[in-house]
């Protein structure tokens, strides 16, 4: 008996290790044990009038920034404290970790008031309800519009941008004299150097997806199309369009003839470029310091064939649970959005400022070149499905380079997988949600009604294939209302007279009876038959 117990116990321990690997993130959120921030902090600051006790700050703002920017903010914080007796607590956090840590801290009310994040993380933070919209007031006109757009979600501005980053085409001035006009020219120039033994590869890049996005766009490829308002439309995946396939074919041809490496990574490409063995190199501000130190004679250029790179915008966001929202906004608009601070952020960050007065005065040739290369850039999509896009895009290209799949087949596979993730699993379902559903097996009470995803009332194609039918359902006497909804959601729905988003369709039963429905997909009209 004891042996069995021991067996179970050892199993428990084994599985707990396993669970720790997966559940780690989940349990971590319960760790900070602080009283809910609703009651306690309301009293403390008012009890200390700002005018009487200058030793005690009137309020404290907590800010999470990365190490490179911290000194700039510390200086501003000192000024702010001296002038307004408000302490700004600058806490240094690794830039890549800010979002994850914020997601853990913010729900408990312990998060910072202000964080800095790249814009492609903003969507998730908004969806999680952790950040507050902000109003830049008169200062709004001082920011680059694309940078503001990147932080605008559902028509509301959620961040104050400070920098824009994108990749540019670096070239070695010793090896390249004429800048190529097209990608074909670039590869040809590189191939010639390679044949002369002067170059290892024609072109270096970190990864064949993000870094080479400008090449795909030159050929007419795109990731997501845009809707009428200029927002990305996740339903329009362009990964397997003609241009994209051509671009991958072009890349593959150049891998096959040795011009490009299929296994290259950012570090390898950087080393080859700084060693003078790579005429062209596509990279961003993060490699600029290393290239400068290496003293390789480099130049920077826009992309051939008018290629458009991805752009990323970095900005400040406000904690929705902050007790100091008004103060934090004032601090950002009055103290951070100034020529002085913004230009210091630009110098330290190697990235062009998103603040117009600073951006317009850029004299540094490298920053200027990044700005020009990014003039036609497209903001990186911030929708959650990007996780699936990166993974499948990279996989497709790997498979093509390894010769396992043809470009069209690989990209079609990848696009299908991405569409599967984005599409909802109920695509194609036709349903009649309404107030009768709790009698048709969709649940009890009100919760069982008006469910467009309820399988029990889903319609089937009729025998002649021209309409959809459901029922008969046994219903009690009474008044009922229904609608037609497609794909298991309310996104597309039809009401009276087949009008999209129209009024509810009503019917009544004078006595208990059977009801069946028939829906015409051409006219969108629902016919209710009562027995």
């Amino acid at each position: 008996m004891f042996r069995k117990l021991y067996l179970v116990l050892s199993l428990l321990v084994a599985v707990s290790m396993l669970l720790a690997a997966c559940g780690g993130g989940a349990t971590a959120t319960t760790a900070p044990e602080q009283p809910a921030a609703t009651e306690a902090p309301a009293e403390a600051p008012t009890a200390v009038p700002a005018t009487e006790a200058p030793a005690e700050p009137a309020a404290t703002l907590v800010m999470w920034v990365d190490a490179t920017k911290a000194p700039v903010f510390k200086q501003v914080a000192d000024e702010f404290l001296a002038k307004y007796n408000v302490k700004v607590d600058i806490q240094v956090t690794d830039f890549g970790q800010i979002r994850d840590k914020f997601q853990t801290a913010a729900p408990t009310g312990n998060g910072p008031d202000i964080i800095i994040v790249p814009h492609d993380q903003a969507g998730v933070l908004v969806a999680n309800g952790l950040v507050a919209p902000l109003d830049l007031g008169d200062k709004k006109a001082s920011f680059l519009q694309p940078a503001l757009d990147a932080f605008t979600i559902d028509g509301k501005l959620y961040g104050m941008p400070y920098a824009v980053e994108n990749v540019a085409l670096f070239y070695n001035k010793d090896l390249v004299t004429d800048l190529p006009k097209t990608w074909e020219d670039l590869m040809a120039a590189g191939k010639k150097l390679q044949d002369d033994g002067k170059a290892t590869y024609c072109l270096g890049f970190g990864s064949p997806d993000y870094h080479l996005y400008s090449l795909y766009t030159s050929f007419g490829g795109y990731i997501f199309g845009k809707d009428a308002q200029g927002n990305y439309n996740p339903q329009d995946v362009g990964l397997d369009n003609e241009g994209f396939i051509k671009a991958v074919q072009f890349l593959d041809d150049n891998v096959k003839n040795g011009c490009l490496s299929s296994t290259i990574d950012g570090n390898t490409a950087l080393k080859l470029f700084t060693d003078g063995k790579e005429p062209f190199f596509i990279t961003g501000p993060w490699d600029l310091d290393a290239i400068k130190t290496a003293k390789v004679p480099y130049g920077m250029s826009t992309f051939p064939s008018n290629g458009a790179p991805f752009s990323g915008v970095q900005g400040f966001m406000l904690n929705a649970k902050s007790q100091n929202l008004l103060l934090a906004q004032s601090f950002l608009t009055e103290y951070i959005a100034t020529d002085d601070v913004m230009s210091q952020l630009q110098t330290g960050g190697n990235r062009p400022s998103a603040y117009k007065p600073v951006f317009d005065k850029i004299s540094d040739p490298d920053l200027l070149a990044f700005g020009q290369a990014g003039a036609n850039s497209q903001p990186m999509p911030a929708i959650p499905a990007m996780g699936a896009v990166w993974a499948n895009w990279g996989t497709a290209i790997t498979l093509v380079f390894q010769g396992k799949q043809a470009p069209d087949a690989a990209l079609q596979d990848a696009a299908k997988k991405i569409r599967d993730v984005i599409a909802n699993p109920l695509t194609g379902m036709v349903n009649v949600p309404g107030s009768y559903q709790n009698q048709a097996g969709c649940g009890d009470g009100d919760a069982g009604n008006w469910k467009p995803d309820c399988a029990a009332t889903a319609m089937q194609k009729s025998d002649d294939g021209k309409s959809y039918v459901s029922g008969p359902f046994k219903l009690k006497a009474g008044d009922y209302e229904v609608k037609v909804a497609l794909d298991g959601t309310w996104t597309t729905n039809y009401g009276v007279d087949g009008k999209a988003g129209g009024d509810n369709i009503k019917f009544s039963l004078t006595a208990d009876g059977e009801v069946s429905f028939s829906y015409d997909p051409e006219t969108h009209i629902l016919t209710v038959t009562i027995k």
């Binding site: 428990l12 044990e33 309301a42 008012t46 080393k271 699936a388």
Partner: protein, 530 residues
């Protein structure tokens, strides 16, 4: 000599009063600490955690105060940790598996409602103003308001806005922005100074029904709360257009337009995560292929690490081996370096362009193994790195176990004319397996879920052609699931789904382990020999 003669009782050792006091003191410290923790946890709404700590609290107190529980005193620390760090996380994981916890549903219902109720809107008839705050000695405020047409007003709490101009009685002259420099009885505040009062945005200026609140440093407006919550029906009503939002699995969704209010909240959704996993393309996908590799990988790993470890241990078991200690120490080094570092170093050494290993093979054999692109080479690479990481453990274990095999057995075998292979086959191996058998199984289970190695070395690659979901030739179940739930699944982080899948994986691992224990009868053998 009657039957009354008492049996001598084992004399209970009288406890040193000092040690009793010390024990009570530590118990007091512990009780205070955990009591405080429980209060904090309850206040923050972490009831489950509070309950678990409560159980530990009771357990420790009972054991330390009841004389009958004396024997458990030495176990109580271990048991407490078991409850806190093993059983509680397991129960928590099981609970999470039945919720939609993850991106979009991170907050509790209370927290999400607090965020939603903060949303405001400007009614069509409402006006917005630029504001300047003035503060009186009694800490009350007055607002100087400028509407978009340039009209100016003075707003106070509880009374309608009064049209006012700089220079009016009691109001000072205008500065360059048209804002009076002073108002009698009030001090003008700079916007930042005004903002240091957290209460300012909550103050409602103007007459009831048309109150004005400060929304941002530049704007005060006749704002109204956008959503009204009905706790009885658990619905939200949009005050602007009357649209009703019903609670659907933790997201307030409109019946008529299908719009959802952000954020959703963490709700219990029953078996939905399990259903989602079963229905997802993941199962129709390359699951069988991944499962096969998931069995092959730990089997080969255990066999290879055990064989190499045993071979080295046998070598060192020879008394005449020179510099034994030096070599043994050197060979232990891989075990002492964190595997995270080792794996990354191997990754670098196997780089097809710059790696030292590929450089050497190219020079010697004219062939550069495609470690990261060919499935069979990738699998070989993973096994090779795991061999490097795992053999020192078995070398250590078997070295110890070899010492415990009595030398006279070998002597007897020698007399019977056995050669060294026969001695190894019939004496060393069987006796060794009895001792290290359970460890082999432990190693198997560990490698079954060796996420760190697979993820760091190659992240599951190279990709499987035509797979319906993101999957690679070296993916094991746990790394495949990680991708689905966190990375390339594409719906953000889904703790609920991840927990559900890890429960399913538990049953798989549990079954394997049980079968192996039964099959090998390992415990019976051990107990026979003890």
């Amino acid at each position: 000599m009657t039957a009354n003669n008492p049996v001598p009782q084992p004399k209970k050792q009288a406890e040193n009063p000092f040690s009793v006091l010390l024990r009570l003191f530590f118990l007091l410290v512990f009780d205070l600490g955990s009591g405080w923790f429980i209060v904090q946890a309850v206040q923050s709404g972490y009831l489950q955690l509070a309950a678990v700590v409560g159980v530990v609290f009771l357990l420790v107190n009972l054991v330390l105060l009841l004389p009958q529980a004396y024997a458990y005193r030495w176990m109580v620390t271990g048991l407490s940790f078991l409850v806190l760090f093993t059983i509680y996380p397991m129960l928590f994981t099981i609970y999470i598996a039945f919720t939609n916890y993850g991106d979009g549903h991170l907050l509790t219902q209370q927290q999400a409602l607090a965020v939603i109720e903060k949303e405001t809107y400007l009614p069509k008839t409402g006006k917005s103003y630029k504001w300047t705050a003035f503060k009186a000695a009694d800490n009350s405020y007055a607002l100087w308001l400028i509407d978009p047409d340039g009209n100016t007003y003075l707003g106070k709490v509880g009374s309608a806005l009064v049209p006012a101009k700089p220079g009016d009685p009691g109001i000072g002259q205008a500065d360059s922005n048209g804002i009076p420099t002073s108002i009698d009885g009030f001090t003008r505040l700079n916007p930042i100074l005004a903002a240091t009062d957290k209460e300012l945005p909550n103050i409602k200026f103007g007459e009831a029904g048309k109150t004005i609140q400060i929304r941002s440093p530049s704007e005060a407006a006749e704002l109204k709360p956008r959503y009204a919550y009905d706790p009885a029906a658990n619905t939200l009503t949009d005050q602007e257009n009357g649209e009703v939002y019903n609670d659907v699995n933790g997201t307030y969704t409109s019946r008529t337009s299908g719009k959802a209010i952000v954020p959703g909240y963490r709700a219990v959704i029953g078996f939905q995560n399990f259903v989602n996993f079963v229905q997802s393309p993941a199962l129709r996908g390359p699951l069988v292929q991944i499962l096969v590799w998931n069995f092959v990988f730990p089997t080969l790993s255990v066999l290879s690490t055990f064989s190499l470890g045993l071979a080295i241990a046998l070598m060192f078991n020879d008394k005449d081996f020179p510099l034994k200690k030096v070599f043994r120490t050197l060979l232990l080094i891989p075990y002492t370096i964190p595997s995270v570092i080792t794996v990354l170093i191997w990754r670098g050494m196997m780089n097809p362009d710059l790696g030292i290993i590929n450089h050497l093979t190219k020079t010697w054999f004219g062939f550069s193994p495609p470690w990261f692109s060919e499935p069979i080479w990738a699998q070989a690479g993973v096994l090779l790195v795991n061999l490097w990481l795992g053999y020192p453990y078995f070398m250590l274990i078997t070295s110890g176990a070899l010492q415990s095999i009595p030398a006279d057995l070998y002597e007897a075998a020698k007399i019977d004319g056995a050669n060294s292979w026969q001695a190894f086959r019939n004496i060393t191996l069987p006796l060794l397996l009895v001792a290290v058998g359970p460890l082999l199984i432990a190693s198997y289970v560990y490698n079954f879920n060796n996420f760190g190695l697979i993820y760091l070395f190659i992240n599951g690659g190279p990709p499987i052609v035509g797979a319906t979901t993101q999957a690679g030739h070296t993916d094991i179940l746990i790394s495949y699931v990680y991708n689905l739930a966190f990375a390339s699944g594409g719906r953000g982080v889904q703790y609920g789904l991840a927990s559900a899948i890890s429960i399913i994986v538990f049953f798989i691992v549990g079954t394997i382990t049980l079968v192996q224990f039964r099959f090998t009868n390992m415990w019976e053998e051990v107990s026979k020999n003890v």
